[in-house]
């Protein structure tokens, strides 16, 4: 049911882990529905220089986390905010319909991390 690309990212996920001095961090999902994603980003001069994830979830959740980190790494904040769940799913060669909510979580996790970063920036004034 999964594309080769999904299996490949699931088997060799990119950017797993946490960033100790993260510029922003976001956690989305909940244990009730079986998926939780945490994204940490490091931002320098408006560019996402590093991104790491940790995910509790199914194969699609892990693969979309991995793909989403690849897609935003090296991008500006504005570019990263344009990341959509469709783009993540397409980059993975498509997802089964019941798994589309996993790609939604990847988009939300990136957005949550960026929001956290922006909040911290504002707080610093």
């Amino acid at each position: 049911m999964y594309s080769d690309k999904v299996i490949e990212h699931f088997s060799n996920p990119r950017n797993v882990g946490e960033i100790e001095d993260a510029s922003g961090s976001g956690t989305v999902g909940n244990p009730k529905c079986g998926d939780i994603m945490k994204m940490d980003i490091k931002v320098e001069d408006g560019i996402i220089t590093d991104v790491k994830f940790k995910t509790f979830g199914c194969g699609a959740a892990i693969a979309t986390s991995s793909m989403a980190t690849e897609m935003v790494k090296g991008k500006s904040i504005d570019e990263a905010l344009e990341l959509t769940n469709q783009a993540v799913a397409e980059a993975l060669g498509g997802l089964p319909p019941v798994k589309m909510h996993c790609s939604m979580l990847a988009e939300q996790a990136i957005h949550a991390a960026i929001q956290d970063y922006q909040k911290k920036q504002q707080a610093q004034g």
């Binding site: 088997s11 244990p31 009730k32 529905c33 079986g34 939780i36 509790f56 194969g59």
Partner: protein, 400 residues
């Protein structure tokens, strides 16, 4: 195709001996059993032979066996048929929260038709007691339906005692024995069972064939109208080769059953104990004693079941899970929730069901690769002892 198949509760391979028995009935003895000519009569004989084989395996009379298309049809027919045939006596049905959906969804449909259904809760090991059943009986109760053994966590229910309660109160008793036939000894007389559902492909027979036992003298409404087959109770030209197949399969499955069950149980226990020794933060779902000989079901803390299945699949091992991600819905298994597991723990379940051809070397292989798979997924997971809200007490729920 997986090198190691540990999903025998989902389905089993047709055994070569069963296939050999079936083959002539596709091309040689293909007659319509309802025909008068000898080709038809040969087919009829083969069906009656299979009926005897099925009846003998559960202590029934051949006239009490009706062939169906499988376990789900048998459950549907028994429950709807008994409900409608007894509608004038009452409208109350008693069942449990952990039945197969073929029973639960049938009961839910009957509720829409005006029947009332009591869904009894189970204990932390998945057991319902005869006392619970007795307390739920009212003067409107017409049917009790409780599975012989649970398909997910392997719990064997106290069927004989429930049968006795049903008999004392003159209420019909149906049991979904789809997972139990060929796994544990069954006797419809000794256990006071009025109706019993089974499915051929769970014990090395073909898919698409099942049977329903209905005790002589009990009338249930017909589900499929349109012909005189199965004593006018289940119309449609018989699945001849399938019927021959289920007959042979049940004969083989119930030969030396206790010996085979003891061997499987020992292998299952070695698998479960091996996992508990090697991997921390794992619980066993279902009881250690009184569970199906082939069923191992665990919940692994901090990770999700489908990701385990995929990793196992990549390692050549077929298993299953009660995670939502394997059901196509957002909710994990109703059985795991019914035994008191929080969603997070239910999502992390792994079921491995052994078969008659499972080897010690295969168990060794699972014990070798599973710890690595689990530690790898845990390293990737956002949940751990610090971030998870599930406490030890809730996780083990008195099972450790």
């Amino acid at each position: 195709m997986n090198a190691i198949y540990l999903d025998n509760a989902a389905t089993t391979a047709v055994s070569p001996a069963v296939l050999q028995e079936m083959l002539p009935f596709f091309t040689e003895h293909y007659g319509n059993p309802s025909s008068v000519h000898s080709t038809g009569r040969d087919a009829r004989k083969a069906i009656e032979n299979a009926r005897r084989q099925v009846a003998a395996a559960i202590g029934a009379n051949p006239q009490e066996i009706y062939f169906t298309a499988g376990g789900s049809e048998s459950d549907n027919w028994a429950i709807k048929g008994a409900a409608y045939a007894n509608r004038k006596k009452g409208n109350h049905i008693i069942t449990t929260a952990i039945e197969h959906h073929a029973v639960l969804h049938t009961c839910a449909w009957l509720e829409k038709q005006g029947f009332e259904v009591t869904y009894l809760p189970v204990d932390r090991n998945g057991r319902v007691t005869p006392e619970q059943i007795e307390a739920a009986i009212t003067d409107k109760t017409i049917l009790i339906t409780v599975m012989t053994a649970n398909n997910e966590i392997g719990t064997i229910e106290p069927i004989a005692e429930i049968g006795r309660v049903a008999r004392e109160h003159k209420v019909l008793f149906h049991t979904d024995a789809v997972q139990a036939v060929g796994a544990i000894p069954l006797d419809v007389q000794a256990m006071n069972i009025d109706m019993l559902s089974m499915s051929g492909h769970k014990f090395h027979g073909p898919k698409g064939i099942g049977a329903l036992y209905v005790r002589r003298g009990i009338r249930i409404d017909t589900l499929i109208h349109g012909g005189a087959q199965e004593r006018g109770q289940r119309a449609g030209t018989e699945n001849l080769a399938g019927i021959v197949g289920i007959g042979k399969a049940i004969e083989i499955a119930t030969e030396n059953l206790e010996e085979k069950a003891a061997k499987l149980s020992a292998m299952r226990d070695r698998l479960i104990d091996g996992i508990l020794e090697r991997i921390p933060d794992v619980r066993v779902n279902g009881p250690r004693d009184g569970r199906l000989p082939n069923n191992a079901n665990i919940s692994v803390r901090y990770i999700e079941g489908e990701s385990m299945l995929l990793k196992l699949d990549l390692a050549g091992i077929a298993a299953s899970s009660g995670s939502a991600c394997t059901s196509g819905s957002l909710d994990p298994s109703h059985v795991l929730l019914a035994i008191g597991l929080p969603h997070e723990v239910a999502h992390g379940s792994l079921r491995m069901t052994l078969g008659s051809d499972t080897t010690d070397a295969e168990i060794d292989k699972v014990l070798e690769v599973l710890p690595e798979i689990i530690s790898g997924l845990r390293a990737m997971s956002v949940l751990n002892r610090e971030t998870s809200t599930v406490t030890d007490e809730v996780f083990y729920n008195g099972t450790k």
